[in-house]
Symmetry: C2
Subunit: 497 residues, 2 copies
């Protein structure tokens, strides 16, 4: 086979034109309507100067128009640099330069930013969404077949050090990710996936790709709201939803004694290790949680817990999707024994081939086809993955490894603690010691000695945080993932202590 | 990506060891048990001389042991020539020679055949199943990763002229076939596929591959029985079944006023155009029929009617599976207009790369990645495929094209006609004229003038059969597909008229 496939949206609109692809606010589109709108927009993009094979950047929020623009770019066969709306102007500028994007489309509210970029990058063609849609429409030259090896999207990720890197995601990466997920989670003509995470993150964008590959409707929210989530799960017959721990926690709290409809079959929980008390509460409330592990570099999930193990392997991220593989590597390069922690190393057709224009970083992170994730975890005797932490978040205290997620999980079991984040603080005796940042329920004040006592019953002495800080809100990224790096920055900047 | 994947069975047994893979008679196996048995058999095959990369032939009936042996061969990475149990010794001998198989495993009841082959092919290592299972078991050298481009199986198909050709089916062909099917039919953890068609046909073998790729149980029957089918659909919670028209017709007759359980969600109907009256009866009886079109060269389905069109496009085989493509080509090589009949030409990752050791036939049938199927059909305005007939079965009468399937469909609408087959008879005036072979319900005798009158009301004059033959049974292959070629042979041999 030549590794080519029909253009995904073109094919889907041909196969099931009348099915709904998306509901957003009070609007909805069928696949045929999405195709028609994307076709029209493709003509406008082409008029603007967007060309097959070049890089086009987008700075767009969750909206129906964003979906139209993203698929219009696929129809043209351009490579899309998907920018994160939360970044600063300087960060965005850097990514625009790094990717050498020739065209930029921004949300109207970012018109000022657009102005700045145009001044600094004179060759960049940049327009707001409204300007784009006002363009004359020419007949677009469509990419009828896509090569699975071609770049579809670029998403930047920040490492712990150095500049952000543009992760290359091919059509094949997205295709295999969607297929691997379907083989694991199943797929029915009743399915409907709720997307409250940003489309500019792989968590959101992958839902879009699944929609077109599966012929499945999605419900898109501008941003996460627990009330709206619960309402739409009921009213719009949502069956699957992607969440991170804090979102799930807020849903669970808001539900109180209510239950989700029995048609709701999968709460796909990513974004890092989840606290066990939350998982147990979900079991009690019959919320079907599927823990998963994935990242921008794996185009979404690569390891997911199968339904039959959701109870017996509580806290595990599961086993790799059918086409993917996983290994735990020790510091010395040997494969770890069952139960032994080490770096999580993955492989598969959904895994990136590397970073845009970054040969060194690519060579460092991808070796003989295996991606070195920088995450720490272990496989149990049966091959189930337990993710311990980001390697970069590891606290080393007196030579002992301490995983922040473990301490956070303990703290979250306290009835008055809503959120917890743990990071390292330098210590002259131990090298590092853990410090905990805590958000309490209803702003209740918990005395430090109560917190210490609570931990003493549940943690080895060296794992007990030396400092507890009560704060209003934890730093999280747009996908609601906890940013432990920011906690560490706060400590280093002397904002605490 | 390097186009490699974990060995399918190894991976599946790791992912979901405790799930059932197959029920056969009173026995059932989990994926783990199948893996263990296949592993053991792989050791015995290796001891016998089976090697990675070589061809091994099997002549086996539907049985649990057959599944074990087929997967044992995949574990070793050998290429399996799957022989048809219905062939004559001479035909089998020819296929053994053509494929240069070095080892042959036969069902015990074929011990005599084995003896014959050994005499004629002195280098062939051949054993019965019992002899194989009595071998000493050595530790097998397993193929841990399969390349999707590697040959998995060879199945011989007979063209209308010349010797049978060995169709190459790679691991990738089977993989993409299974994935394309899942994306179209959906996939749930309640699914169970009933296999009453031979495992030595692609219709049966593809169910086996789906089982392992999906982690889905199958129920295997030795051969088709309408009573047993209906019983097992109920008792074993079957949700999907593969049939051809005559099987479906017998199921429908046997059901009488009964209904299949509502969990039964898909009757996948292949093996040639189905008569409309049968399809209409199924609509009345709420049997969810999914018409499909496929062949050995496409590793099973390539075109299937999506659920939402099963009523409005009755009689259509549907649209191509997501990754595949279809075109109708006129005799002059141009692409046909909607509604215009021509040769069905297909492409996709499930389509064979060619015929074993037959460069000429490969070049003739596969041109620029497109397979010329030899079947005649048209696409309607919306792109739905309607299969008219095998091109080789076409009757040309006075310059008019007559499709046997059309006439058969008309005859099958007669309340006393159970089965019908139409072929060409040479005619001095018209070149060819149609002749009909008919099996009546309960052996009722239908006068020829009644049949003529019945056709006159429904068919153009030139399409009305000039001869009607009442017979006890139509010639069908092991997959119950009508053999019009045999009808023509009967006429040519002077057995009728």
């Amino acid at each position: 086979m030549d590794n080519k496939m029909p253009n995904f949206l073109t094919r889907r609109a041909f196969l099931t034109p009348e099915r709904t692809v998306v509901c957003f606010q009070e609007q909805s589109l069928t696949f045929k309507e999405l195709y028609d709108r994307s076709y029209q927009t493709a003509g406008q993009l082409q008029k603007l100067g967007v060309k097959n094979g070049q890089f086009t950047a987008v700075l767009l929020k969750n909206h129906l128009d964003t979906i139209v623009i993203l698929f219009a770019l696929q129809l043209l066969g351009t490579k899309t640099v998907i920018l994160n709306c939360r970044l600063t102007a300087a960060e965005l500028l850097w990514q625009l330069q790094d990717s050498q994007a020739s065209v930029l489309i921004v949300e109207d509210c970012f018109a000022d930013l657009k102005q700045q970029f145009t001044e600094q990058l004179p060759t960049l063609i940049s327009v707001t969404k409204t300007m784009l849609f006002a363009q004359e429409q020419v007949q677009p030259k469509l990419l009828e077949e896509v090569s699975l090896d071609e770049i579809c999207t670029i998403m930047y990720t920040s490492g712990t050090t150095g500049k952000p890197k543009g992760v290359i995601q091919t059509y094949g990466n997205h295709w295999w990710s969607a297929v691997g997920s379907a083989l694991n989670l199943g797929l029915t003509d009743q399915d409907c996936w709720l997307c409250t995470v940003p489309l500019f993150h792989i968590s959101g964008f992958s839902i879009l790709m699944r929609s077109v590959i599966y012929g499945m409707p999605i419900v898109l929210h501008e941003k996460f709201s627990e009330q709206k989530t619960i309402r739409d799960i009921k009213d719009k017959r949502v069956t699957i939803m992607s969440v991170v721990g804090t979102m799930l926690s807020r849903i669970v709290d808001t539900l109180e004694d209510e239950r989700l409809p029995k048609e709701f079959r999968c709460m796909l929980l990513g974004g890092g290790p989840a606290p066990l008390p939350l998982l147990k509460t979900c079991v009690e409330k019959q919320i079907p949680v599927f823990q998963t592990y994935g990242m921008t570099e794996t185009s979404s999930q690569i390891v997911t817990l199968s339904p039959e193990y959701s109870l017996t392997k509580l806290g595990s991220a599961g086993k790799p999707l059918f086409p993917s593989e996983i290994r735990i590597e020790r510091i010395d390069g040997a494969t770890a024994q069952p139960g032994e922690a080490g770096e999580i190393v993955v492989k598969g057709p959904n895994v990136t081939s590397g970073y845009l224009n970054r040969e060194d970083a690519t060579a460092e992170k991808i070796r003989q086809g295996w991606l070195y994730t920088g995450d720490v975890g272990y496989l149990d005797e049966e091959g189930f993955l337990f993710v311990l932490d980001r390697r970069s978040d590891l606290i080393i205290s007196g030579g002992e490894n301490i995983y922040p997620a473990e301490i956070e999980a303990v703290l979250l079991a306290h009835p008055d603690i809503l959120e917890a984040g743990v990071t390292a603080v330098d210590d002259k005796d131990w090298g590092q010691v853990p410090a905990a940042f805590i958000v309490t329920r209803n702003g209740r004040d918990i005395p430090v000695d109560e917190l210490q006592q609570f931990c003493r019953n549940r943690l080895a002495k060296y794992k007990i945080p030396k400092f507890f800080y009560l704060i209003d809100r934890l730093p999280r990224n747009a996908a609601k993932k906890l940013l432990r790096r920011t906690l560490r920055d706060w400590v280093n900047e002397g904002r605490f202590r």
